[in-house]
């Protein structure tokens, strides 16, 4: 039996603010346990949470980048549940007045995956279970998160992965989070149900919690869809429950039941005032957004003329795109810059993380100096590649490796003036060429080769000479 996948994704993203959402404690990663804490983020009675402006700004940035409507009035709610990672026994979140609503992400196919809402909330602490005891570190408690909830518009494992990938890229571009799934700064929960094609009703859905890699999202959706299909095919019913994806066995299994814990009894947090962001501020934040990744990709292809494959390799890493554009700003050509990045620089970077970080030892200006030598045909592309490799390894500028006497050619301008010089110096030979004695051109070649020590491009010189002689 064939089924249709109905899937939505909830994504938690840690915001790259300096301080926590409701107190001035640092959000810096690591540190000795419970050293980035104060009465607010450890939930001491009588402490007063005060909302961080940057959190609101970043969440609005995310909303605008995902085509959302921004709610200019918003408030915080308490989500109640008892577990030691939450010192107050409630999480401060948003329930019925989220900051952003009704956006979308467009997939390559043109299909839009709706964004239901984006709200802000605080992260929980970290628990370590060991020999019958639980040890708690509240350094992460109160670190700001946004939760981005999609509509159940996703209908395949590939779409699920593409959605998460695009979301990650957009969030990285606007600089609100590094979105490192392995380190937990981006985590996805996947909701999934099956239905018969054309059936308007939804089937019973399950939720797969805390998936921490893009490829696992795709695999988890496939595994869960197969598991549910097997149940339905056998005439059974899917049980609504929370699942865990195990990458080792590539299987989805139920988590221990949280027994009826879905009753979070939300209510407005009386400690935190309702807040408003006027339209002018929202417009200001919109103006501050950088060019978004998929606009950039289109521009690389349509305006700069890069091939789709090359454009895609460059735009998907924010730092690489910046380096590429900085190099162009120094006057280097699009084609050589792009090719040297993709072929030579990337060959030094094996992992996605390395490309994302793009820690290289030369500046865009130094890189441009090399590219321009290739642009002017003073060095061929092979020499450019090997020289670039040496520059990357040593961090030294191009002059260290290529001396003026190493240049294989001379610039077009220099060659043209040399050709003029050669004609002026040999008026008789030039006249002979003009009158059909073609071999006389060799006199001019001799002159040029002597002057350049044999490094001039002789075919180019011939074209130029003939043009100049005809004039």
């Amino acid at each position: 039996m064939n089924y249709e996948i109905v899937c939505g994704i909830e994504t938690h993203i840690e915001l790259a603010t300096k301080t926590k959402i409701f107190c001035g404690c640092t959000t810096e990663f690591g540190g000795e346990p419970n050293t980035h804490c104060c009465p607010v983020c450890t939930g001491q009675p009588g402490s007063l949470p005060i909302l961080n402006q940057k959190v609101v700004e970043y969440a609005i940035k995310a909303g605008l980048a995902l085509n959302c409507k921004i709610n200019t009035k918003s408030h915080m709610d308490r989500k109640n549940y008892v577990y030691p990672d939450l010192p107050k026994a409630y999480q401060i979140s948003q329930y019925d007045e989220p900051l952003c609503e009704k956006g979308y992400i467009e997939l390559d196919s043109g299909k839009r995956i709706g964004i239901t809402r984006i709200h802000i909330e605080e992260d929980a602490g970290k628990l370590i279970h060991e020999s019958g005891l639980t040890y708690i570190d509240y350094n992460r408690s109160g670190v700001p998160l946004i939760e981005i909830v999609s509509e159940p518009d996703i209908s395949s494992a590939e779409e699920a992965k593409e959605y998460a990938e695009k979301l990650q890229l957009i969030m990285r571009y606007i600089g609100i989070s590094d979105c490192k799934m392995q380190e937990g700064s981006m985590r996805c929960d996947v909701n999934l149900s099956l239905r018969k094609p054309g059936d308007p009703r939804f089937g019973v859905r399950t939720e797969i919690k805390n998936i921490n890699s893009l490829s696992f999202i795709q695999k988890a959706v496939m595994a869960e869809a197969e598991r549910q299909a097997d149940i339905l095919d056998a005439g059974g019913t899917v049980v609504q429950q929370t699942m865990r994806y195990d990458e080792g066995t590539n299987s989805v299994t139920p988590m221990r039941d949280k027994e009826n814990s879905d009753d979070y009894r939300y209510f407005p947090d009386p400690d935190i005032l309702r807040f408003c962001v006027d339209d002018k501020k929202v417009e200001e934040i919109r103006e501050s957004l950088p060019e978004l990744p998929f606009d950039k990709l289109k521009r690389y292809m349509n305006v700069l003329g890069l091939s789709e494959a090359t454009a895609k390799q460059i735009f998907r890493y924010r730092m690489v795109a910046e380096f590429f554009e900085d190099t162009l700003a120094e006057g280097a050509s699009v084609k050589n810059t792009a090719n040297l990045i993709v072929v030579t620089i990337f060959s030094n970077m094996d992992t996605e993380e390395e490309k994302e970080l793009f820690a290289i030892r030369i500046s865009a200006a130094q890189f441009a100096a090399l590219v321009k030598l290739a642009d002017e045909k003073k060095i061929n592309i092979g020499v450019a590649q090997s020289t670039l490799q040496k520059m990357l390894e040593s961090g030294k500028p191009v002059e260290e490796f290529i001396k003026p006497e190493d240049l294989v050619g001379i610039s077009d301008e220099a060659l043209e003036s040399l050709c003029k010089e050669a004609i002026d110096a040999n008026p008789e030979a030039a006249a002979n060429v003009r009158n059909g004695k073609d071999k006389a051109i060799n006199v001019m070649f001799g002159y040029i080769m002597k002057k350049t020590g044999g490094k001039a491009d002789i075919r180019k010189a011939e074209v130029l000479l003939r043009k100049l002689i005809r004039q």
Binding site: K18, E32, P33, C37, L51, D137, Y138, C276, V277
Partner: protein
């Protein structure tokens, strides 16, 4: 209004209608959510006490035209974006201060094992 959840209650609150008495089952459910266990005798006592507290809240509710929902819409105290807290780090408390009221271990809070 916070203890008895559900749309029905919320609607009743909005209309300023007297909420029906809280039941023992509801107290049991709340205790379970709070991970607390009570004897039957305690449950009976809490049910009666909760009922009194809610009746009091109800009196307040009924004295406001339009119910407690009205309070929020009337409440003009709203903070603007510019008045939110600037994102500037202030020193955290030293670890021994944070742990001064609890039994700690190597800088951690230590509790009995709890697993979801």
């Amino acid at each position: 209004m916070f203890v008895s959840s559900g749309d029905l209650t919320a609607a009743a609150v909005r209309k300023g209608v007297r909420i029906m008495a809280i039941s023992k089952t509801e107290i049991e459910k709340l205790a379970k959510l709070a991970k607390l266990s009570f004897t039957d005798e305690e449950l009976e006592r809490f049910t009666a006490e909760f009922d009194e507290i809610i009746a009091f809240a109800d009196t307040v509710n009924q004295s406001i035209e339009g119910g407690t929902e009205q309070i929020r819409s009337v409440d003009a105290r709203m903070v603007s974006f510019d008045d939110l807290r600037p994102d500037e780090v202030v020193p955290s408390l030293p670890n021994d201060k944070i742990l001064s009221n609890v039994e700690g271990y190597n800088g951690f809070f230590k509790v009995e094992r709890s697993k979801k």
